[in-house]
């Protein structure tokens, strides 16, 4: 078997995000997080729930782009809000901007909110997700355009914004991980600012610093991101993503 690609390292980094998730709904956005979530479910996190991206909860493991052959539940949008407000969910969203405190923007870019320079998709569920249950982020291309000093519009709530809003905003707020094409970051530093915890094989700390728009904390025990095992590679390549969508999201 060929050695793992960068995309496959990213897949297991995403999967590891849900290693101790237990029996909750995992909602991945993007190809690589979706492959990662199905890999986690097929291996070390068998209890997590996954939807087909619409209203069905799929049983077993199924390939990207196909429908699950087993349906274990029904979860229309109404129920998604029930679940997310109950806290039994961990989402991985794709930020357009992310700052050092974990504020995330997918709404719009520019100074004037009523006349933005660039309109994006909108707040979506980001405000509610971030104050109700664990949230992680996936950045397919680590760049200073994404990792900015300050986001233009707070869609997902960062640690400083949650603190400013008060105890109710902080009560269930928890940002877990940020997986990028270069490494893995978390917010476990003393001031809850982004901290680099691992770099993918072939990436240096300076490579990451060079494309991050603010000073980055570096973990004392910084490691190289782990490689997928042979079993994991086989599941990724032959069962979950035989069409290679992961390679289109992150090139080699």
């Amino acid at each position: 078997m060929n050695g793992p690609t960068r995309a496959e390292v990213c897949v297991v980094a995403c999967a590891d995000t849900w290693r101790a998730a237990g029996e909750i709904l995992v909602s991945p956005f993007g190809a690589i997080p979706t492959v990662g979530a199905r890999l986690a479910r097929a291996t070390f996190a068998p209890r997590v729930l996954l939807t087909d991206g619409e209203a069905l909860v799929g049983g077993g493991v199924w390939p990207l782009g196909e429908s699950p052959s087993v349906v274990e539940g029904w979860m229309p949008y109404r129920s998604i809000f029930d679940v997310l407000w109950s806290g039994k969910r961990h989402i991985m969203m794709i930020p357009s901007q992310l700052d050092r405190y974990g504020n995330m923007n997918i709404s719009c870019i520019g100074e004037d909110y009523q006349r933005p320079k660039v309109q994006l998709i909108g707040l979506r569920g980001a405000p509610g997700n971030t104050v109700n249950h664990p949230t992680s982020y996936w950045v397919p291309r680590h760049s200073a355009r994404v990792f900015v000093q300050r986001v233009d519009r707070v869609s997902g709530v960062g640690y400083d914004s949650a603190a400013a809003a008060g105890p109710s905003a902080q009560r269930f707020h928890e940002l877990r991980r940020v997986v990028t094409d270069l490494g893995v970051l978390d917010f476990a530093s003393s001031d809850h600012t982004l901290r680099l915890v691992s770099v993918h094989p072939g990436v240096s700390v300076d490579d990451v610093r060079a494309v991050t728009g603010f000073p980055l904390q570096i973990a004392d025990d910084l490691t190289e991101s782990r490689q997928p095992t042979d079993d994991e590679l086989q599941l990724i390549r032959e069962v979950i993503d035989p069409g290679g969508a992961r390679q289109r999201e992150v090139g080699s």
Partner: protein, 292 residues
Amino acid sequence: MPVRPDKLMTEDDVVAELSSGMTIGIGGWASRRKPMSLVRAILRSELRNLTIVSFGGPDVGMLCAAGRVSRLIYGFVSLDSVPLDPYFRAARQAGEIVSIEYDEGMLYWGLYAAACRLPFLPTRAGLGSAAMGGDSELRTVVSPYDGEELVAMPAIRLDAALVHLNRADPYGNAQYLGPDIYFDDVFCMAAERAYVSCERVVSTEDLLNGAHPATLRINRMSVHGVVPAPNGAHFTSCVPDYDRDERAQSEYVRSASEPDGWAEFSARYLEGAEAGYQAAVSAPSSLAHDQV
């Protein structure tokens, strides 16, 4: 027994009951099960200055492109297979509409508060985010039980709701046969007047016809008009009756990047009556015609 009058109407009958300046909720979600034949009827009308409330898709984009929207209350606008709607973006980037952007759960909660005739409903969603800042008029409320401070999501009351379902009887009992009702029932209950367009009007006796009773999610108490509208959600999806017409959606998206693109798209598809639209999109010469 006295005969119960039916509520059958045409799209143009519905539009005749609407007026400029109204707050109109539009059901569906992104590019799924949108009441597009009713939207097309608005585009043919003189209605202006509308406040549109939507889990937004091409309904929002087209109404923005035609300059009918003065305020937009939404959580997102997306075409699903195409992440962003170009006409919505253009309207925002030109500062043409007043944007009131909520978390999508807050939007649900605001509609539900209106449906329940409550002034607000409490939620944590919105705390610490841009949904609370800037032009937002949102307030918080302190729990009388434990002192927790929560967002008081205000009721979003609608003058009218427009939704598209798979089936309905002539009296307004309406049925979804796809995977999700989205928030169509809440839109109807939050509105002074709700109009249901549907793929097929069937007799009440035929509504279940093998389907589970839970598919009858909208009942006639909250429905004022029923519009027979086969292919009425086109080009958005209306499963299991049909999938999204990706080619037609692509043509809509592409038109936005051409000079006079909207004028040409409108002239080609939107200026005739609904029958003209349906003929145009099914004509073999149409780029939108999905031959597969």
